[in-house]
Symmetry: D2
Subunit: 431 residues, 4 copies
C-alpha cells in the first residue's frame, strides 16, 4: 500500500522488519516449548532471543542466492548464535513459521481495524442522537419520497457498521488459527500436542486440520469482511457526497481552514474525503476476487497464493484501517445544515405527502385504483407546473367530497412521519 493511505499503528505491522520479528516470535515459541518438553536445554530460547539479529538487507542478500526467504531468514537471524542454533527451526517446515506468522499479523491487524470501527460506531451513535428529531426529506431513486429523520439515516449506517464489526471480528477469529503440523499437515516431526502449546503462547488456536498451510478460506473470508466494511463506508460516503452537492447542500464533510478545493477554482469545497473512501472501497472489492482464487491450492499446497497474499493482505488491512479511521473524523466533523434540509423538503411542493393523501381517500371509501390515478394526476400537474400539490389536490371535487380542510391538515403533516423514529432508536438502546 502506498504511504498516503498507510496510517500508524497499522503500517508498522507490515514492514519487512515486523514480519521477520513475527517469524522469530514463532520460532522461539517452539523452542520454549522444546524447553518445557525437554527437547532443548533450559534457557535456549532466551539465549536465542538475545543473540538474534533481524537484518532485512542481509536476509535479502542471502535470499538472492537461495531463492528461499525462510532459509535466508534462518541463516541471517542465527548468524550470531552458538550451538543453541541447532534447536532453531528444528522439525519445522517453512510454512509452520510463515503461515502462523501470517495469522498473527492478520489477527493483530483485525484488532486494529476493529478498534477504529468501535470509534466509528461511537461517532455514529452521537450523530444519530444529535439528529433524532431533525426532519429531512427521504429520497428514493434520487427523488423526494417521504419525510424522515436525519438521525434515522445515521442509525442505518450504525446498524451496518455493527454488522460489519461482527463480520470482521468473526473473520479475525477465523484467521487466528496457526499450524505447526509440518510439510503436509500430518505432524510428521512435531506432535499435535506441541502445536497446541506453541500456538497458545502466541494467542492462536490450531487449525482443526491443515495442509502445509492454514486453509486459505480463512484469508478469503477476512478480506471479504474488510471489503464489506469498505462497502458500508462507501454507502455512507456516497450519501454525504449526494448531500453536499451544490443543489442539495444538506451536509458537508469537514473542510479545514487552510484547505483548498481546487487549484483553478477558488470557490470549490469538495467532498474529496468521501470520494477517496469510495475509491478505496473499489480497491478492496478487487482484492476479494483475488483472495477467493487463492483457495483452491493444489494437493497439500502450492505457493501460488503467496505473491498475491503478500500484496493484498497488507493492502486490505491498511485500506480498511484507513477508511475506518477517516470515517470517524468524517462523522464527527460532519457539517449538517438543518435549515437547508427544511428548505429542500419544502421545495418539492408538498408532493411527498402523496401517499398519505392516497391512503386517506381509500380510507374514505374510494377504490385504491381510482385514488391512485387521481393523486398521480394531481401530483404530475403540481410537479410540471411547480405549484403546490395540496392546493391543487384540494381543489379536486372528488377530494373535496371526501376530505374536509382539517382532514387535509392531518394528511399534510410532516410530524406524522417521525412518530415511530423513537421505536427504532430503542432497538439500539438509544433514548
Amino acid at each position: 500500500m502506498i504511504e498516503r493511505y498507510s496510517l500508524s499503528p497499522m503500517k508498522e505491522l507490515w514492514t519487512e522488519a515486523a514480519q521477520y520479528a513475527r517469524w522469530l516470535e514463532v520460532e522461539l515459541a517452539v523452542v520454549e516449548v522444546f524447553e518445557e518438553t525437554g527437547d532443548a536445554p533450559q534457557g535456549s530460547a532466551a539465549v536465542m532471543r538475545a543473540k538474534a539479529v533481524i537484518d532485512p538487507d542481509e536476509i535479502r542478500r542471502i535470499e538472492m542466492e537461495t531463492d528461499h526467504d525462510v532459509i535466508a531468514f534462518i541463516k541471517s537471524v542465527t548468524s550470531r548464535m552458538g550451538d543453541e542454533a541447532r534447536y532453531f527451526h528444528k522439525g519445522l517446515t517453512s510454512s509452520d513459521v510463515v503461515d502462523t506468522a501470517w495469522s498473527l499479523a492478520m489477527k493483530r491487524a483485525g484488532e486494529l481495524v476493529l478498534a477504529e470501527v468501535d470509534r466509528m460506531i461511537e461517532a455514529l451513535r452521537g450523530l444519530a442522537l444529535r439528529h433524532k428529531d431533525t426532519i429531512t426529506v427521504g429520497r428514493t431513486h434520487g427523488m423526494h419520497a417521504e419525510p424522515t429523520s436525519f438521525g434515522l439515516k445515521a442509525l442505518s449506517w450504525l446498524a451496518e457498521a455493527e454488522r460489519n464489526r461482527e463480520r470482521v471480528a468473526r473473520a479475525t477469529d477465523g484467521i487466528a488459527h496457526g499450524k505447526i503440523s509440518g510439510a503436509v499437515g500430518n505432524y510428521a516431526h512435531i506432535p499435535p500436542q506441541l502445536e497446541e502449546r506453541v500456538l497458545a503462547k502466541l494467542g492462536l488456536k490450531p487449525s482443526k486440520v491443515s495442509t502445509q498451510v492454514v486453509p486459505r478460506d480463512h484469508h478469503a473470508e477476512w478480506v471479504s469482511a474488510l471489503a464489506l466494511l469498505g462497502a458500508g463506508i462507501e454507502r455512507l460516503a456516497t450519501e454525504v457526497r449526494h448531500l453536499q452537492r451544490t443543489e442539495v447542500g444538506e451536509a458537508m464533510e469537514p473542510f479545514r481552514s487552510g484547505q483548498r478545493g481546487s487549484s483553478a477554482m477558488p470557490h470549490k469545497r469538495n467532498p474529496i474525503l468521501c470520494e477517496r473512501l469510495c475509491g478505496l472501497a473499489r480497491l478492496l472489492r478487487g482484492h476479494v476476487a483475488t483472495a477467493y482464487e487463492n483457495i483452491a491450492l493444489w494437493h497439500e499446497r502450492d505457493i501460488s497464493h503467496s505473491s498475491a497474499d503478500r500484496v493484498i493482505l497488507p493492502d486490505a488491512a491498511l485500506a480498511a484501517h484507513y477508511m475506518a479511521q477517516r470515517t470517524v473524523g468524517l462523522v464527527e466533523g460532519l457539517v449538517v445544515d438543518t435549515e437547508r434540509m427544511r428548505e429542500n423538503f419544502g421545495a418539492s411542493h408538498n408532493l411527498v405527502f402523496s401517499q398519505r393523501l392516497l391512503l386517506a381517500l381509500v380510507d374514505k371509501g374510494m377504490s385504491r385504483e381510482e385514488a391512485y390515478l387521481l393523486v398521480q394526476q394531481r401530483a404530475m400537474e403540481a410537479a410540471n407546473s411547480r405549484r403546490d400539490f395540496r392546493a391543487l389536490a384540494g381543489q379536486d371535487d372528488r377530494v373535496r367530497r371526501l376530505l374536509a380542510e382539517d382532514d387535509l391538515d392531518r394528511v399534510f403533516d410532516g410530524a406524522a412521519y417521525l412518530r415511530h423514529v423513537g421505536d427504532v432508536f430503542q432497538r439500539f438502546q438509544l433514548p
Copy 2:
C-alpha cells in the same frame, strides 16, 4: 439470462435449438468440403441437411445416458440419416464443432450488439447537436464548477460510445476464429487446408494455432469489451440519474403515459431505466473476472471453462444488447429542461466565475497566491451567506483597485465558457 432482459433478435441466438443448428452448420460445412476434396460422395451434405433432425428433448435424453452432449447430438441428429451418416463428424473432435460454433454465435451476437451501438451513436449525435448551445453548469465532485454546454456532455458520451464500438468490433473480429484442428490442435485427422475451407464457408478464419479449443483470451477480450460498453452506458445513466434528482431536475428519462413510479407514492417519477442499466453494468463486470479465469486451461485444454461459458457468454451478449438497445430510447426520449439548467446555474451565486476572477487579478499583476486567497475568502463568504459573489468580490478594495466594472462584466460572462465548444464539435465532423 432472464427473460426480462432478453430482447429479440439476440435471444433467439441463444436458444438450445439455435445452438444445435449451429453445430449442424459446422458439421455440414465439413461434409461440403469433403465433397469438394472427394472424401465424401457428392450431395452428401444436402441429403444430410434434409434428413437432419434437431430435437433438443431427445438430445437431452441421450445425454443423460452418455454424459456427452456432442455424442448425444450426433446420435439424435443423424437418427434418420442413412449410410451418408458415416461422413458426419468424421475425423472431428467435439471441440472442432462446439468451439467453432461458439465463435459463430459470438460473432453474430457481436454484430447484433454493434447494430444497437450504431443506433446509440446516432442518437447521441442528435442529442449533441440539439444541445450544442444549451448552457448548463458543469459539475465536479458533485459541486458546481464552471458553465459548459449540455451538448458537450453528449459528445463525451458519444466519444466513449465510439471507442467502445471499436473495442467490441475488434473483440468480435478476434472471436471470429474457429478451429478444425482435432483433439490437440495438431490436425492429426484433418489437414489445415480443410480447416481453412470449412471456416471460410462459415465466415470465420482459422485460429493461428489452437489447442483442442479456440484460445480463451479471445472470449475474455470479448466479454471485457462488452463490459466496457456497459460501463460507458453506466456513466451516461448515472449522469441522467443525477440530473433527474428532485433538486436538480435538468433532465429526465422518458416516462410513458400510463407508467407508475411507485405502488405507494403516486407522485413518483423515477429514473428506473437508468438505474437498471447501472445494475446490468455491474453484472457484466462480474462476468469479466470469470472470463479471465477461464484462460489458463490445463495442457491442450481442460473443460472447466465450459460451465462458466455456457452462462456468461450468452448473458454478457444479452445484457450488452439490452443495454445498448434501451439506451437508444433513453437518449432519443431524454427530456431536457433547459429552463431549469439556467435556473440552477443562477442559483450558485455566480461562484462558478471564481477562476475567471482569479485569472483577471493575476493578469493585472496580483500574485497567484494572493489572488487565490482573496477569491477563496470572498467565495466562501458568498457561499455561506448565500449572497452574490460578484457583488461581494466587487466590494473588495483590492479587486476594485485592479478591475473596473466593465472588467467585471467580462469576468462574469457565461458565454465565454462556450467559445470553444464548436472546436470540439468539429472533431466529430459535427456543425
Copy 3:
C-alpha cells in the same frame, strides 16, 4: 441460470410463479395481522387467498403498460377479489413486499443449499473414515513432499465444508430479515409492532433499521458465503482432477456405464464433473463482485441493485446447490486406487524421506547447514540419476559415520508419517 445446472427443488423456488406466490404470501400476512388488530374485517385474508389469481402472463402484460411490476401484480392478483381488495397492499410500499419476499426466497434457498452441504459433510466423513490408513504421497508445489494419509486429505475437505456450512448458515440467518417499514424506513403508515407480527408469521425477523429496502450487505454476505462454498468445492474438485490425470491415476470421479469421454477418442475417461464444478466456482466468484457493488445505494435506496439481483441471487443459489449436490455423488462414488497410490509413492526413489534423514543427522550432532547441503546433494543426485535415495545416501561416508543400518531403517519408515493421523481424526469425533 440455465436449465442444465438447475436442480429440483431449488429451481422451483425461482420460477416467476413462485416469486409471485411469495409476494402474495407477504401481502396476506399483512392482511392477517390487520384482522388481528381490527384494521380489516375477520376472514379477509382467507377470502383473498381463495380469490387470488397468479397469472404471470397477465402480470407481464399489465407491466408493459405501467412499467411497475408490483402494481401489475396487485392489479392482476386482485382482479377477481371484491371489496376486500381495499385491504390488499394497504399502507405498504412495493419494497415491503418485494424485499421481504427476496428474504423469504433466500432463506429457503439457503436451507436447500445447507441440506446438500450436510449430505456432502456426511459423504466426506465416510470417505475420511474409509481411508484413514490409506498411505499416499503428500504433494506440495505438485511435487512429492512427504507421505500422508488419504483420509487426512478428506478431513481437510470436511473441515472446510464445515466452515462453509457455518458461513452459509450465518449468512442465511442474516438474510432472514424482512421489512415492512414503508417508503423510507420510518414506519410512516404501518407501525413497527405490525411489522414484527407480519414477519413472525413468515419466519423472518425485522431488519433492525431498514431504508426502503433490506440493507444489501446481507445479500452480499450471502453471495459471498455461497462463493466460498463454491471455492471449497473447487479445491476438492481440483485435487480429484490432479489425482485422476493419466500419470497419477490415484483417484477418479465416477464414470457411469454408457458414458462416453470424447466424441473422437474412445479411450477417454475425463474428470468432467470436477472440471464443471471448477467453472461454476468461477461464476460464483464473479457474482460476488456484483453483489458488493450493490451495497452503496443512494439515500433511502435506489433500484440499481434490482436488475443485478434478479440475475445473481437465483444464479448463485442454483449454482451452489448444484455444486453441493453433485459433490455428494462425486465423493460417494470416488474411485480410489490405493494400489496406484503405493506405486506412485514408491516411484520417487525414497526422496520423500529427506527431512527425516536431515533431522536424524542433526540429532547425531551434525550442524543443520551441513546436513542440509549433504542431503540436498544426494537427493538431487538420486533424482537426476533416478536411483534410490536411501542407497545413495547410505553410501555417503558422513552418513555412515553417524547412522547405522537400523537407524536408516527408522529414517526410511513410511508408517512414521501416519502416527498422528488419529489425533486429527479425534478432533472430528471420528474413530
Copy 4:
C-alpha cells in the same frame, strides 16, 4: 507494489519524485507554448526549469495544510522562482497536469512492458523452434489424448503473447491521450490549439473530448490488457507446473545452483517462479474490476477514481512488467526432458491411438457407433488391466476381420500426428 515484485526501470517510473517530475514536465510544456504564442516572455520555461525544486517531503508538508496535492506541488516547486512564477499553472486546472501526467506515465510504462513482451516473444520463438520435432503426449482434461509436438505448445503460447502484445500496444496507444481542457473540458481558459501543441511536445494526443479528466475507459482498457497478458503468462506457467510435477517430469523451470527448495525437505525442487506468476495474474485480475468501476464518474468528474488509481495503475504496470521479464528467463532456461516425454507417452499403453483405430475401422466400413463401442471397450480393458491397447485390440475378431497387421502399423504410428506441425510453424514464418 511491494519491492519484491518491482523491477527496474519500471519501478523508477513510479516513485513520488518521478511523478512530480512529470507534473513539472507538463507545466513547463505549457509555458513553452505560452512563449511561442507570446503569452509568456521568451525563456520563461528555461528559467523555471533551472529554478524548479522537486522536494517530495516539502510537498507532503504543504499538502498536510492545503489538503490539495497540486497546490502543494505548485507552492513548493515554484518556491525559488521569481516573477516568472506567474506563468506557472496559469489557466490550468489541476487535472490538466495530473491526468496528462498519468497518461505520460502509463504510456511509458506500457512501452516498458512491451519491451519485455518482445523479449518473451523472441524466447518463445526459440523454444518453439528447438522443439518443433519433439514428440510429447497431448493432454486434455489432464488425461493423455493424442501425441503432439512440444514446439506446437510453445507456438500456442507465442500466438497468445503476440495477441497480448497487440492488446497492450493498443491500450497504451489509447492512454497516450492527455488533456489541457480546463475544469470541465470546455477549454474555458486555454484554447484547443494550445492543448494540441502542448501535448505534441509530450508525445501525446488530445483526448477527442475530455471532461475535467481523460476518460477512464482508457485506463480500464489498459489494466484489462495487462491482466490479459498476465492470464496468458499464467497459462504458460500453469503448464510448466503440470509438466514439472513428480509423476510427469517433462519440463522444469530453471533451478539455480545454490537455490533451496524447502527449509525442511532438502530434496525439493519446486516450480516456485511459475506459482508466483500465477498469483500475480490473480492480482491483476482483481485490479480489472476496480478499474472498470472507476469509469462511471459523476458529471464532469468526481475524484473517487483517484485513490484506486494511485494504487492499481502502478501495481498493474509493475506486476505485468515483472511477470513478462521473469517469463523471459523461464522460457529461456526451461529444462525440457525429451526422454521423459517419450517415456510418459509410452506409459499409456498405446491408448492415445484410439481415434486412429476408430477411423480406420469406419474407413473399412464399420459403422461409427459400432466402432466407437468396440474401441471404447478394448481401451477401458487396456486401461484397467494396464495392458497394451494395440495387442488387446488386435486380438478382437472384428478388428482382425478388417485390419491386417500393417494396417495396424499405420494406425499405431506416432509420427502421423506431427505431419501438419510444419504447416502451423509456417503461419509464424518459422522454418
